[in-house]
């Protein structure tokens, strides 16, 4: 896909700004997802997405603290290497009948990507301070991955045909 190299941060400040953007977008996207589920009457999954949103928000705010700020910075428009930001869920993964398991699978996928992103940066040829910061962030994402893995185990695996809707779609306009 549109393979444009994500700009590599050269300073810790740069790095934190980028990390902040990653988390902020991830949080926003979970909110979008939650809203979609609300509109489509899937409250269970909506609540789960809200929860994920809060997790990402927390992470985001934590970075804010690291940046030594109390107010959000202006988020630069980053060109991500991937179609979506490193921790942002793709819209297409959603389904109105999806179950918590599906939502968590999406979260898992995102956390893994986030880990990979930061992990790669931790190994990249960037100033050591940036590497260290990236490593720290990668560690956190690894924790998230673990957390989500545990969480998944607690929810039922959907039965085959979970997406079957006996009713036809409705149309209008």
């Amino acid at each position: 896909m549109t393979a444009k190299k994500t700009s590599t941060p050269r300073t810790v400040a740069d790095f934190l700004a980028q990390a902040y953007a990653i988390e902020a977008e991830a949080a926003e996207r979970y909110r979008d997802f939650a809203e979609q589920m609300e509109v489509h009457n899937n409250t269970e999954v909506a609540e789960l997405f809200r929860k994920l949103e809060r997790i990402e928000q927390k992470h985001r705010d934590q970075i804010l603290g690291q940046m030594g700020r109390t107010t959000p910075p202006r988020v630069k428009a980053y060109k991500w290497e991937s179609a979506e930001g490193p921790e942002t869920g793709a819209f297409i993964g959603l389904h109105y009948l999806m179950q918590p398991w599906h939502a968590l699978e999406i979260a898992l996928h995102n956390e893994k990507r986030a880990f990979a992103f930061f992990n790669e940066l931790a190994k990249a040829r960037v100033p050591p301070a940036v590497r260290a910061a990236a490593r720290e962030m990668a560690e956190e994402e690894r924790e998230h991955v673990k957390l989500i893995r545990q969480w998944i185990k607690k929810v039922p695996v959907p039965r085959p045909g979970w997406d079957r809707d006996p009713d036809p779609p409705t149309g209008s306009e």
Partner: protein, 278 residues
């Protein structure tokens, strides 16, 4: 408020409180997100942008932005957008809609908008189906798609080739994008808006409800193997032989934008009376 002094807006500032009725998974969510990113990238102000559409799932998009919006009737979005831009050249006008809206009932306006080359950007969220009316074939639907009750044996009709028609009709900027790549799509939309004249962006945007197989488009799309050209016949060759999944800006021309001067007349209405006086 001084617009220049105002802080630049983030993508989310272009997203309204109105919640989309789109099916979860629908490609149009990504398109919305790309549009808001493009607006932010171009540092536009919400009040200086108008999003105009027709009727269809995709055409619901204006109200999902915080910009001025016009949700008109089926197939006429380009005409509304043209009138708006000609009367208000200071605005950024984005026209958006579906393949049915734009290529079936609105096909004539599409061709003539390409010819007219007003400084508009036209986005078609192409899902090769009429989503809103529950899954009939659109002009871009494959001839052997048999899932519509209206055409149970398939349409048997050759697909409509939007990029070819745009080129043949004189569009000044032609690109294909994929909703599954919102960042890439945002880039393309921003470039389309930036380019003067009529810019056309065909966005492959899956309908997960009536064309669930389109979830696999992500495996089919690929970057256009070549750079954009400004030579129409080279562009024609490329587009005619492409597989429909080439993503990128395919043609950028240099045609003069159509914009009659407005608001610049030297005379008063009463001056016209001289023509009637004996």
């Amino acid at each position: 408020m001084n617009a220049n002094a105002a802080a630049a807006l983030a993508p989310k500032d272009f997203k309204s409180e109105v919640k989309p009725v789109w099916c979860p998974g629908c490609g149009d969510y990504s398109v919305l997100s790309s549009i808001t990113k493009a607006f932010a990238k171009l540092a536009l102000r919400v009040e200086n942008v108008a999003v105009v559409s027709g009727i269809g799932c995709s055409s619901r998009i204006p109200a999902y932005t915080t910009c001025y919006g016009f949700h008109g009737v089926h197939g006429r979005a380009l005409a509304v957008g043209t009138g708006l831009k000609l009367a208000r050249p200071d605005l950024t006008v984005l026209v958006a809609g579906g393949d049915g809206d734009g290529y079936s009932i609105g096909g004539n306006h599409f061709m003539h908008a390409c010819r007219r080359n007003v400084d508009l950007t036209y986005i078609v969220m192409d899902n090769r189906v009429y989503g809103m009316t529950k899954g009939q074939a659109s002009p871009t639907t494959e001839p052997d798609w048999e899932s519509s009750k209206l055409t149970p044996e398939g349409t048997g009709l050759r697909e409509f080739h939007p990029l070819v028609i745009a080129l043949a009709s004189g569009a000044n900027f032609i690109a294909r994008a994929f909703s599954g790549d919102p960042n890439g799509t945002a880039e393309i939309i921003a470039e389309a808006i930036r380019t003067p004249g009529f810019s056309f962006v065909e966005i492959l945007s899956p309908c997960v409800t009536f064309r669930p197989e389109q979830r696999l488009w992500k495996d089919k799309v690929h970057d256009a193997p070549v750079k954009p050209t400004s030579d129409p016949s080279q562009a024609a060759r490329r587009i005619l032989t492409d597989d429909g999944f080439n993503i990128g800006v395919l043609y950028v021309g240099h045609r003069k934008t159509y914009q009659p001067p407005i608001g610049k007349g030297a005379k008063q209405a009463a001056d016209l009376e001289a023509g009637f006086a004996l």
